[in-house]
């Protein structure tokens, strides 16, 4: 599987992502600089990693979504390419209009870094096929602006089209406000595009793929990708 990670000024989880992709996929991704206007040829996957692109000043992801490389990413996605946006990457994808909704300041206004539980809401996607439906996976979040907002019509559409990939939940899989760390509507942690090839999610599967780091809740996401795209 050929993958590339887009590096914006202020990106800071590109190395974490590269390690996870290399560990599970066996092949190191290429790093692509934000000022480039084209993606390398022959890519199976483009990843927008976590961090604070352009400092997240103005709005998280706003400036990243307007950088030159995003036009290339948009063309790649429109041509049916697979794009994964994690944390800041998810914020960029919504700001760029590649996924619906917006990510607002966390409910308690504080940055949150801790393990959360996610319920896998669909396995009909190249990112979740290696999980079980309804499986509860433990992975960390680390964000200040992860409070997912979309209007009622959009939420209904996402639900109807089975495009909610992950919801925050308690350890036993119950979904509710108390187990939603950031106030997201409908406890949404990750969503898919209409063609199911673009995934945006706030939690960091790349930070929990090895027992040494305290768990492997994020590993099945990378396994799904490798199995679906190789």
């Amino acid at each position: 599987m050929n993958s590339a990670i887009i590096v914006f000024p202020g990106t800071n989880r590109e190395r974490d992502m590269a390690k996870a992709l290399t560990l599970v996929g066996g092949k190191a991704p290429q790093m692509v600089w934000h000022r480039d206007s084209a993606l390398p040829a022959g890519l199976d996957l483009v990843v927008l990693p976590g961090g604070f692109s352009y400092g997240d000043y103005l709005r998280s992801g706003a400036m990243g979504a307007r950088s030159p490389i995003l036009d290339a990413v948009r063309r790649f996605a429109e041509a049916g390419g697979h794009v994964l946006g994690v944390c800041n990457g998810f914020q960029i994808l919504t700001e760029a209009g590649l996924l619906p909704g917006a990510l607002m300041r966390n409910r308690d206004l504080r940055f949150i870094c801790r393990d959360v539980h996610l319920r896998v809401e669909t396995i009909a996607s190249p990112y979740t096929s290696a999980y079980g439906l309804g499986e509860v996976a433990r992975v960390p979040v680390a964000h200040h602006d992860g409070n997912y907002f979309a209007d009622d019509a959009t939420l209904a559409q996402l639900a109807d089209e089975d495009r909610v990939a992950f919801r925050y939940c308690a350890a036993d899989g119950t979904v509710g406000e108390a187990s939603t760390p950031n106030g997201s509507r409908d406890a949404i942690a990750g969503i898919l595009s209409a063609n199911r090839r673009v995934l945006g999610m706030m939690p960091h599967p790349e930070n929990l793929v090895e027992p040494a780091l305290g768990g492997i809740g994020g590993r099945a996401l990378f396994q799904s990708i490798v199995e679906s795209l190789s």
């Binding site: 700001e95 619906p100 917006a102 206004l109 409070n147 907002f149 106030g183």
Partner: protein
């Protein structure tokens, strides 16, 4: 950059659309209540961006700022904006 010749100052007011929950406003309202301020209704937080422009024609300046808002400054999924040219 033409720091010497800016001739127009534009202010962009960006507010959350009604219906969009404002976590910052809500937190401020709670904090004010904790500090003993009562009789408060809704509290909302918005931003103001002030821009110095070299454009002298107010109509053109407004158009240009409007383009900035659509392209970058506001996220119209959740925000409204209003432009003031001084």
């Amino acid at each position: 950059m033409s720091k010497e010749y800016p001739t127009v100052k534009a202010k962009v007011h960006i507010t959350l659309k009604s219906g969009v929950l404002d976590p910052q406003g809500k937190a401020i309202a709670n904090a004010l209540a904790h500090l003993g301020f009562d009789g408060l209704g809704e509290v909302r937080q918005g931003k103001v961006i002030e821009i110095e422009l070299a454009e002298t024609d107010p109509a053109k300046a407004r158009d240009s700022v409007d383009a900035m808002c659509r392209k970058l400054l506001a996220n119209t999924v959740i925000e409204n904006y209003a432009i003031e040219i001084a």
